[in-house]
Assembly symmetry: C2
Homo-oligomer: 429 residues x 2
């Protein structure tokens, strides 16, 4: 029975392990291998004069990153990783790696992002890269459990759609048999329809597709969105839910992923609730104190502005009370000052993580807002119909999983947080 | 504070509820409403002479399926649903439904599937329909927790891809900027690449897209697939994992979703392990005993054959030891009898739920099998490359979530198990 490498301790007597050859060293009478599996690294030491000839032959022929099986005696040895090594009684090459490798897994030579992504299967063998994706897995699993515990129903909405969420821009067209269709930008309209269906609280973790021309370190053309929508709730209610989720997920990662965090040399601080709520008008004032290109009321926040505010606030925060004109048509205006709306962004000091709002649930107001945005209510009929048959008040948000992971782990490029990024130029592997 | 309707008991003194007007009845001096939220139904009784005039006015104007808020005194009353009713002190219409409704939510008139799907937001208000999707949510959440507890890493693989998984058929083309791309049929190649990346055990729950022309009660063009892949495992190991998952999920639903199961009048039997393993050759013999169109060795199983075998076996079972020729190129042939391979299907008595196999991990054998299928190894280079740099032995499967829910809940049409189906003719809503 194979043991995970982490389970082999200095006290273990004998062990069988499988893994990849991380390093090979030859010191005259001794050969050393480092063998790596997803749980850790162990040294295999071959005293050339003491092992059977066939083990020596195999050891001589094995290349780095080949997959091997080793069975042998475990010895405590202070200098080795984890304070133990294996002296093999059996050594089998399960799968041979060609040389040279297209990428250095032992990270002695650092590679450009494009080179890394071209050989992502090798890149992701690096313990630091693996740590990111194991943490990402912990994030999505913890978010699923948390939202289910809060009574949210896990839904799956279609990714092939006939209409755009927010007008016709930034859509990838699909040939759907004899019809034209699009890859969905957002589950927005569908999760709202599930409020009309009386589901009351839903969530989805799934892909979204945006044909943005931007090719930056924080944009992807295919990303993973965590979407939530709750009935009989306003923007304040769902901001609290979002805040609770963020804190829960950070806390879970801090407790459950300590080895991966150590691998990344990250001392994860769990943010504390409540996050500050900063009105939009105040946010641009804060930004204008330091940024070069001053913002006027009604401007969207530039990346420079986001950084300036983030530097001032120094933690997660919400920007609230946005001008209605710069938010999507479905954001609910304040009844007493309709030039502002019940929309919010959740910000990490580095960038925006999530957008949300209380939504308009009144059919006629929604039609008015769609028209005011220069869109045609006719093309939204499938979405508008539910608003005529008992749509409850509701609110929700969408949270970018890659941005959440990127900011949590202080990654410089969003591509670090997705296994196989899709961007303006990359469609492979 | 609003109470969920289920939480209002005959012992409750007073309560505020929100919900949809399920039914309205007028009996001279008394008006009755049934109000429905996602947790249940409650009767609201209005003694016309005893309530304030404004409540009476509101009650007279309210239409079925409008959203209302009711605050009042709770009285135990045997004949009412749940043995209690509310006599309102406040009654507010939150959102008015137009009349007539495009679909009858109280299910007095049953509707055609197409009519139902055209107004899915109303259809899903029916307690029976809601029950299906709340159970589906329990299934995906329980599967996520189960697989995480078994050490599987939750991954997200791209849905926009440059190449087909199994040749060029049944793909939806996308215009990806200036390039042609496709919507992915299956995470197969990507989850295998994550085995090369040393992740050792992964899972994904996500959409798959198949441009099949079939328009049957068990095909969808967009479906949800639960995909698993495990390294250093063979077909038997992953069949056990799949079996454990099925039993776990059934058990979870049986325990956690008793009200939804009652709504569907389903007495859920948790299948018992191990499921029978029936070799393909034996399976066609069983089928040929009863079916009209006899199968020859090397034929795929027809729906009639699946039913015939299912009737004989009477429970979940595996079909194993398939002819290599009728399985995908990546299925591992038995070394001692390469005309058979280590592939399997998990069957419910009604239909196939899952396909899996130990995969080929040897590069040259894989190239040979791709060519033997009439495909070009050159177009699979991005997939083949990892096999040259230390690909471990691995096995896995893909499980259709809709089919799992459909068979669990004895639904006649797979469209019952997906909120917004996409089929040969349907792209809306």
């Amino acid at each position: 029975m194979r043991l995970p490498i982490r389970a082999v301790t200095p006290e273990t007597e004998s062990a069988e392990i499988v893994g990849w050859v991380h390093e090979v060293r030859d010191l005259g009478g001794l050969s050393f291998f480092l063998i790596r599996d997803r749980t850790g690294i162990i040294q295999v030491t071959i005293p050339k004069k003491k092992v059977p000839a066939e083990i020596l032959d195999t050891a001589r022929s094995v290349s780095r990153e080949s997959v091997v099986r080793v069975r042998g005696t475990v010895k405590a040895i202070e200098k080795a990783p984890g304070g133990r090594e294996i002296v093999p009684e059996e050594l089998e090459i399960i799968s041979t790696a060609e040389s040279p490798l297209p990428l250095d897994v032992a990270e002695k030579v650092s590679a450009e992002m494009d080179t890394r992504l071209d050989s992502r299967f090798l890149d992701a063998r690096k313990p630091r890269v693996r740590a990111i994706f194991f943490i990402r897995s912990a994030v999505t699993c913890a978010a699923t459990a948390f939202l289910a515990s809060r009574g949210c129903i896990n839904i799956a909405t279609p990714k092939i759609v006939a209409a755009a969420t927010e007008g016709g821009t930034e859509l990838f067209p699909i040939a759907y048999f004899e019809k034209e269709a699009f890859m969905n930008q957002s589950p927005q309209l569908y999760k709202q329809m599930m409020m009309a269906a009386g589901f009351e609280a839903v969530f989805e973790i799934g892909p979204i597709f945006r044909a943005e021309e931007h090719n930056t370190v924080r944009h992807l053309n295919e990303a993973t969105s965590l979407d939530v929508e709750v009935s009989f709730a306003d923007h304040n209610d769902v901001m609290e839910l979002l805040e609770d989720l963020i804190v829960h997920v950070y806390d879970h990662v801090a407790k459950d992923c300590s080895e991966h965090l150590a691998e990344l040399e990250i001392d994860l601080k769990v943010p504390s609730k409540p996050f500050p709520r900063i009105p939009y008008a105040e946010a641009i004032e804060i930004a204008n104190k330091t940024i070069e290109e001053k913002l006027a009321f009604g401007d969207d926040l530039s990346p420079a502005a986001e950084r300036a505010i983030g530097d001032t606030v120094g933690q997660h925060y919400f920007i609230v009370d946005w001008p209605t004109d710069i938010r999507p048509y479905y954001a609910m205006p304040y009844p007493d000052r309709p030039e502002f709306c019940k929309a919010f962004d959740l910000m990490h000091p580095r960038m925006e993580l999530s957008s949300g709002a209380q939504r308009i649930h009144d059919h006629d107001l929604l039609v008015e807002r769609i028209s005011a945005k220069g869109l045609s209510p006719e093309s939204f009929e499938f979405y508008l119909k539910p608003f005529r048959y008992g749509m409850p008040p509701h609110a929700g948000w969408g949270l970018g999983i890659e941005r959440l992971v990127m900011t949590m782990l202080d990654l410089p490029n969003i591509r670090e947080a997705v296994l196989f990024p899709r961007d303006r130029h990359r469609l492979m592997p």
